[in-house]
Structure formats: structure tokens, C-alpha cells
């Protein structure tokens, strides 16, 4: 539903399908040079969410009919409550956790696999690795992170998980096939015989704005661009993110001044003007934050093409 008032590109929350949790705030054991919210061991602008806070939101989410839950940071597994948070979440619905894979412990994965076996729902791990070689990955994510993340993938596979390897496209789009092929071979060599891969576009915010460049004034969505556009492709049309400062519009913009919409899901059920540069990336690529099992957006067309 689009309102055209004041010529701002306004997007309403259509339905709250995905509820995100900024469960580790902006704290991470790594300091990737392309991180769009500049997470690091020393970035405390957002803090951890406690088990009680997450549980309160899960209970609140029931009447909104949330379909799936996502957990991000920072590095979620720095949060000491993370395993019990995921166990509890699987009582409510499917869960996905976005991790750098470098701090996983076998005893956590045993516990989580037992939780999955006892639940109706899937638990997905998305492990971030930015390229099929240390030469591509390590300059961005830090020394030896390639090797450590691959060890994390091996652990996950050994514990019966099928992690989705998520990579930010730090290469040219035309090289996608070659890079993905190289990735599949590499993962096969590490015991992962049916690798699942997801490519993300770069988001020119935070540290990435310094590494390459930020968005220009021309990288903006206008109200006219929303005419006839299927807004269900936009994350903010079907998601909100719980942070320790309140409920924000989407996981990408939490650092922006206008991102916190309220303290409850009800308060965060309001429209948002997608005037940020990153909104243009979301507009262009669509569905960038959700898993492949959600599929791509679709609205029936009535005219022949």
C-alpha cells in the first residue's frame, strides 16, 4: 500500500512476516571492512538482548502472525543466552541465525540439533564467508577468518546442519558463476556435499562507505518509482527488527536516526519513508535479507508480455 503524500516514497507494513532480533547488538569478534553497521569488539552502540526480552517479543509476536524469526548482530553467538534463545524460539516458529562461524562450539550445536529434532520447525545457519579463497575473504573479514569460518561450516555439517553460505558480492557480478562454482568445490572438499549459497549485494553504509564509497544523492527511491512497483520485495514491507533501543524498521538501517519506530510491535506498525541510499539497493535487488525458501515476490499480472 503506497501513500503519495508530500511526494515521499512511503511504504506501509503489509504484514509482519519476519521478526528480526539484533540479538548481539553491534558487538562482534570481527571488524569486517564492509560491515554496514560497523560492528566490532568495541562497538557498543547497540547491546545484547536478554533471553527474557526475546521471549517477551516472541509472545507479543503471536497475534501478529509472524512466519519466521531471524537473529543477527554483531555475532549472535557472543550473546551468552544465544543457545537458549534459539531453543525457545523453535517453540514459536522457524529460526535463522546469521553467524560468522568462528566461535561455534560443538556442545552448543549438539544442544541445538536436539532442539531441532524436537521441533516442527527448521533452524537455519547462515555463515558469512566473502569469497572462495583466503585472498578474497581475509582482507575484508580479518586474518585467518577464512580458515576459522570453514572450520565452523565443518562443525555445523558434522552436527547435521546444512548451513547457507552467505557472501557479500565483493567481485564483479559477471563473475558470479565462476565464484559460486569455486565455492561449491571448496565446500565439497570440506565435507559439505550439498552446499547452499546465497549472494548479497554490497550495502554502502558504515565501514563499507569508507572501504569503497557511500551512496550518492542520486541513489534514492522516489515516490514515482513506487508507482506500479511490488513493495512486497522490500524488507520494510514485511519485517521489523527488535533492538535494545526499540523496534526498528529493518536490520540494515538500525544506525539511522529515523529507524527506531517504537518500543512495541504495535508502535512499530507504521509507515516508513524509504529515503536512504540503502533503500535503493533493497529496491533494486529485493528480498535480500530473507532465505531462499521464502521464494521471490509475485503479484499476478493480467497483461500479456
Amino acid at each position: 500500500m503506497i501513500a503519495n503524500t508530500e511526494q515521499l516514497p512511503i511504504v506501509e507494513l503489509g504484514s509482519l512476516d519476519e521478526l528480526w532480533f539484533q540479538v548481539a547488538g553491534t558487538r562482534c569478534n570481527l571488524a569486517c571492512t564492509h560491515c554496514f553497521i560497523s560492528c566490532s569488539p568495541h562497538n557498543n552502540s547497540f547491546g545484547f538482548l536478554s533471553f527474557d526480552e526475546v521471549e517477551r517479543r516472541l509472545l507479543e509476536s503471536v497475534k501478529w502472525g509472524v512466519k519466521e524469526f531471524y537473529f543477527t548482530g554483531g555475532e549472535p553467538f557472543l550473546n551468552p543466552d544465544m543457545v537458549s534463545i534459539l531453543e525457545r524460539t523453535l517453540d514459536f516458529g522457524p529460526a535463522t541465525v546469521l553467524t560468522n562461524g568462528t566461535v561455534l562450539k560443538p556442545e552448543w550445536l549438539e544442544q541445538l540439533q536436539a532442539a531441532v529434532q524436537g521441533s516442527l520447525y527448521s533452524l537455519e545457519f547462515r555463515v558469512s564467508i566473502d569469497g572462495p579463497t583466503p585472498e578474497l575473504n581475509d582482507p575484508i573479514r580479518g586474518p585467518r577468518t577464512f580458515e576459522r569460518a570453514l572450520r565452523g561450516v565443518e562443525l555445523l555439517v558434522q552436527h547435521g546442519f546444512l548451513p547457507i553460505i552467505t557472501m557479500t558480492r565483493v567481485w564483479d557480478e559477471t563473475e558470479d558463476d565462476a565464484v559460486l562454482g569455486q565455492f561449491r568445490n571448496l565446500l565439497n572438499d570440506h565435507g559439505y556435499d550439498r552446499p547452499r549459497l546465497k549472494v548479497l549485494p554490497r550495502l554502502q553504509l558504515g565501514a563499507e562507505a569508507t572501504r569503497t564509497c557511500g551512496y550518492s544523492a542520486a541513489d534514492r527511491v522516489t515516490a514515482e518509482m513506487l508507482v506500479g512497483y511490488d513493495t512486497s520485495k522490500l524488507v520494510c514491507q514485511h519485517s521489523r527488527v527488535v533492538t535494545d533501543r526499540g523496534v526498528a524498521v529493518c536490520p540494515i538501517l538500525i544506525d539511522s536516526r529515523d529507524a527506531i519506530l517504537g518500543q512495541t510491535l504495535a508502535e512499530a506498525n507504521r509507515s516508513f519513508a524509504i529515503t536512504h541510499g540503502a533503500c535503493a539497493t533493497c529496491y533494486q535487488f529485493g528480498a535480500i535479507c530473507t532465505n531462499p525458501s521464502s521464494g521471490s515476490a509475485f503479484k499476478p499480472m493480467t497483461n500479456d508480455q
Partner: protein, 284 residues
């Protein structure tokens, strides 16, 4: 009342014929197809002819919408390049081999069918009531989400297909009387169900060659008085001449990957869209 439901046919006219005979033999009084007549298999016109000849009531799937309107792709909703590559091969074949007359008919199909049984409101759709190509996988669809669909679309039982894997969930909804009478007293429990009826088009990625359809029985046929629900669903594994289907697919030069699925029961394409629980049950 005994109702038969056929999911995605994917041009598998042999399984469709077998299913119709099987359902009739079991006493089906009405037969429904929840869309996606084309894809994957051979000779799309044969499926359309059988469906129309038997006056099966059809919901339009994303494939039927695309073929009917001559769109560029099937709108299946895949995100992986390899999945999209194979989806395009079967789409181009189906579009090229569906007659104009059947395409015109596909355009006229409704996106939902509704009826009531003993005061319970049934809604038939392809993917979900809100989006024709929405994937409702068992392991990534929360019960509160299904409950909200029932609220939003004013129904108690939703039947769909689209994912290729059958499953069902029944739950108790607890509305407050404020919804009904303006007070906030607790109301009696309402039982609701979501039923994914499976597909006739290809096996279920379990290493067996049979395909699936569903029978729903209501009223006395559901064993009224013995069952707490006024409906009962039975998922039916259907053996058919899959070797003959494979021969026809070969003759039509359809991809070896598709034929392998028909002969082995394991999916070889469209795998990346599976959630991890469903993916782990398969071989690839």
C-alpha cells in the same frame, strides 16, 4: 461428502488419469485441482483435456497464469540460477506445446474456490490465500502465521499445493468474544487446519516413484461422532506407470535430470528453495 484434491500436475497426464480412477473408486463425489497443470513432464494439452473432460474444478496456479497470459517465465519464485535454468526449460516447452484454446481456458481460472461444510469454511488456493506462488513449507511456516491467514481470509480450513510436499497441521485458535460480540469474554475454541495436498507431477524426494493426492471426508464420511473434527484428510500415495512417463519425456527431449527424478524418486532440481529440514530428507 468425499472430496478428492489433486495438486500440481506438471504435465503428468498418466498419474492424473490413474488418480482420477483411484479417487472415483474410493467414492469421490467432487474432484478439485489446485493448479500448475503444466511443467516438468510431456504433452501439456493432454493434462488440460483430461481435467476439462472430467469437469474437475480448478484453481489457477502461477504456471497456469503464466502460460495463459504468455508471460516470459513460470513465476515459480525460485532464487537460485540453476533452479531457474531448469524451470525455464520446462516452461518454454510447456508454453510452446499448449494450444491457444487451452491457454484461453487457463486465463479464466479462479485464484481461489470457497465452500462450507457443517459451518466450517474451506478455502482452496494454490500457494497461499494471499499470494499464488507463496511457499508454505511445513518447517518454515509458523502456526500463528497460518492462524492469521485464516483470520484475514475468513476461513477455517486452507488447502494448497505449490511446494510439492504434502503435510497438514491442525490447531486450536482462541479468539476473544470481542471479535464476535463486543465483549472480552473467552470464547469457545475454534479448530482450524492447513492441508498441503501434495502433487501428482513428481515424486516427493523420498526415493520412491509414487506421487500423492488427498481425499477429504466430511460429515458422516469423516466418521461423525467418533472424530473430534468434522473433516478428515487422507494422503494417498499413488503408483502409476512412471516408466511410460519417462519414455514420453525422453521422446520429447526433456532434460535427463527430470527423467531421473521420475525414475528414482529423488529431486535433482529446484532444491535450493527447500528449507533445511525438508532438504535433509532428500538425497541431494
Amino acid at each position: 461428502m468425499q472430496l478428492a484434491f489433486f495438486g500440481g500436475i506438471y504435465n503428468n497426464h498418466i498419474a492424473l488419469k490413474t488418480a482420477i480412477a483411484d479417487a472415483q473408486q474410493r467414492g469421490a463425489e467432487r474432484m478439485f485441482c489446485l493448479g500448475d497443470l503444466g511443467a516438468f513432464g510431456p504433452h501439456p494439452d493432454r493434462t488440460c483435456e483430461i481435467i476439462r473432460e472430467h469437469k474437475i474444478e480448478v484453481v489457477q496456479g502461477n504456471y497456469d497464469h503464466s502460460i495463459g497470459h504468455g508471460l516470459n517465465d513460470c513465476q515459480c519464485g525460485y532464487t537460485d540460477p540453476r533452479d531457474n535454468h531448469f524451470a525455464q526449460l520446462s516452461y518454454d516447452y510447456t508454453l510452446a506445446n499448449t494450444s491457444d484454446e487451452h491457454r484461453a481456458w487457463l486465463r479464466t481460472l479462479p485464484t481461489e474456490i470457497r465452500f462450507e461444510v457443517d459451518g466450517f469454511r474451506f478455502l482452496l488456493c494454490h500457494g497461499s490465500p494471499r499470494r499464488t506462488n507463496e511457499f508454505l513449507w511445513e518447517s518454515t511456516t509458523s502456526t500463528p502465521f497460518l492462524n492469521k491467514l485464516c483470520d484475514d481470509f475468513a476461513c477455517d480450513v486452507i488447502l494448497g499445493t505449490h511446494t510439492g510436499l504434502h503435510w497438514q497441521r491442525t490447531w486450536d485458535a482462541f479468539p476473544t468474544c470481542s471479535n464476535l460480540t463486543g465483549t472480552s469474554e473467552a470464547c469457545p475454541t475454534i479448530t482450524r487446519s492447513y492441508i498441503n495436498i501434495g502433487v501428482l507431477g513428481r515424486p516427493e524426494n523420498d526415493g520412491t516413484t509414487n506421487v500423492w493426492y488427498s481425499m477429504v471426508r466430511t460429515g458422516n464420511d469423516a466418521g461423525a461422532g467418533r472424530s473430534p473434527l468434522p473433516w478428515k484428510v487422507e494422503f494417498i500415495p499413488l503408483a502409476y506407470d512412471h516408466n511410460q512417463l519417462a519414455r514420453e519425456m525422453r521422446a520429447e527431449h526433456l532434460p535427463d535430470e527430470f527423467i531421473e527424478t521420475i525414475l528414482t524418486g529423488w529431486w535433482t532440481t529446484c532444491l535450493e528453495v527447500l528449507p533445511s529440514k525438508e532438504r535433509r530428507r532428500g538425497q541431494w
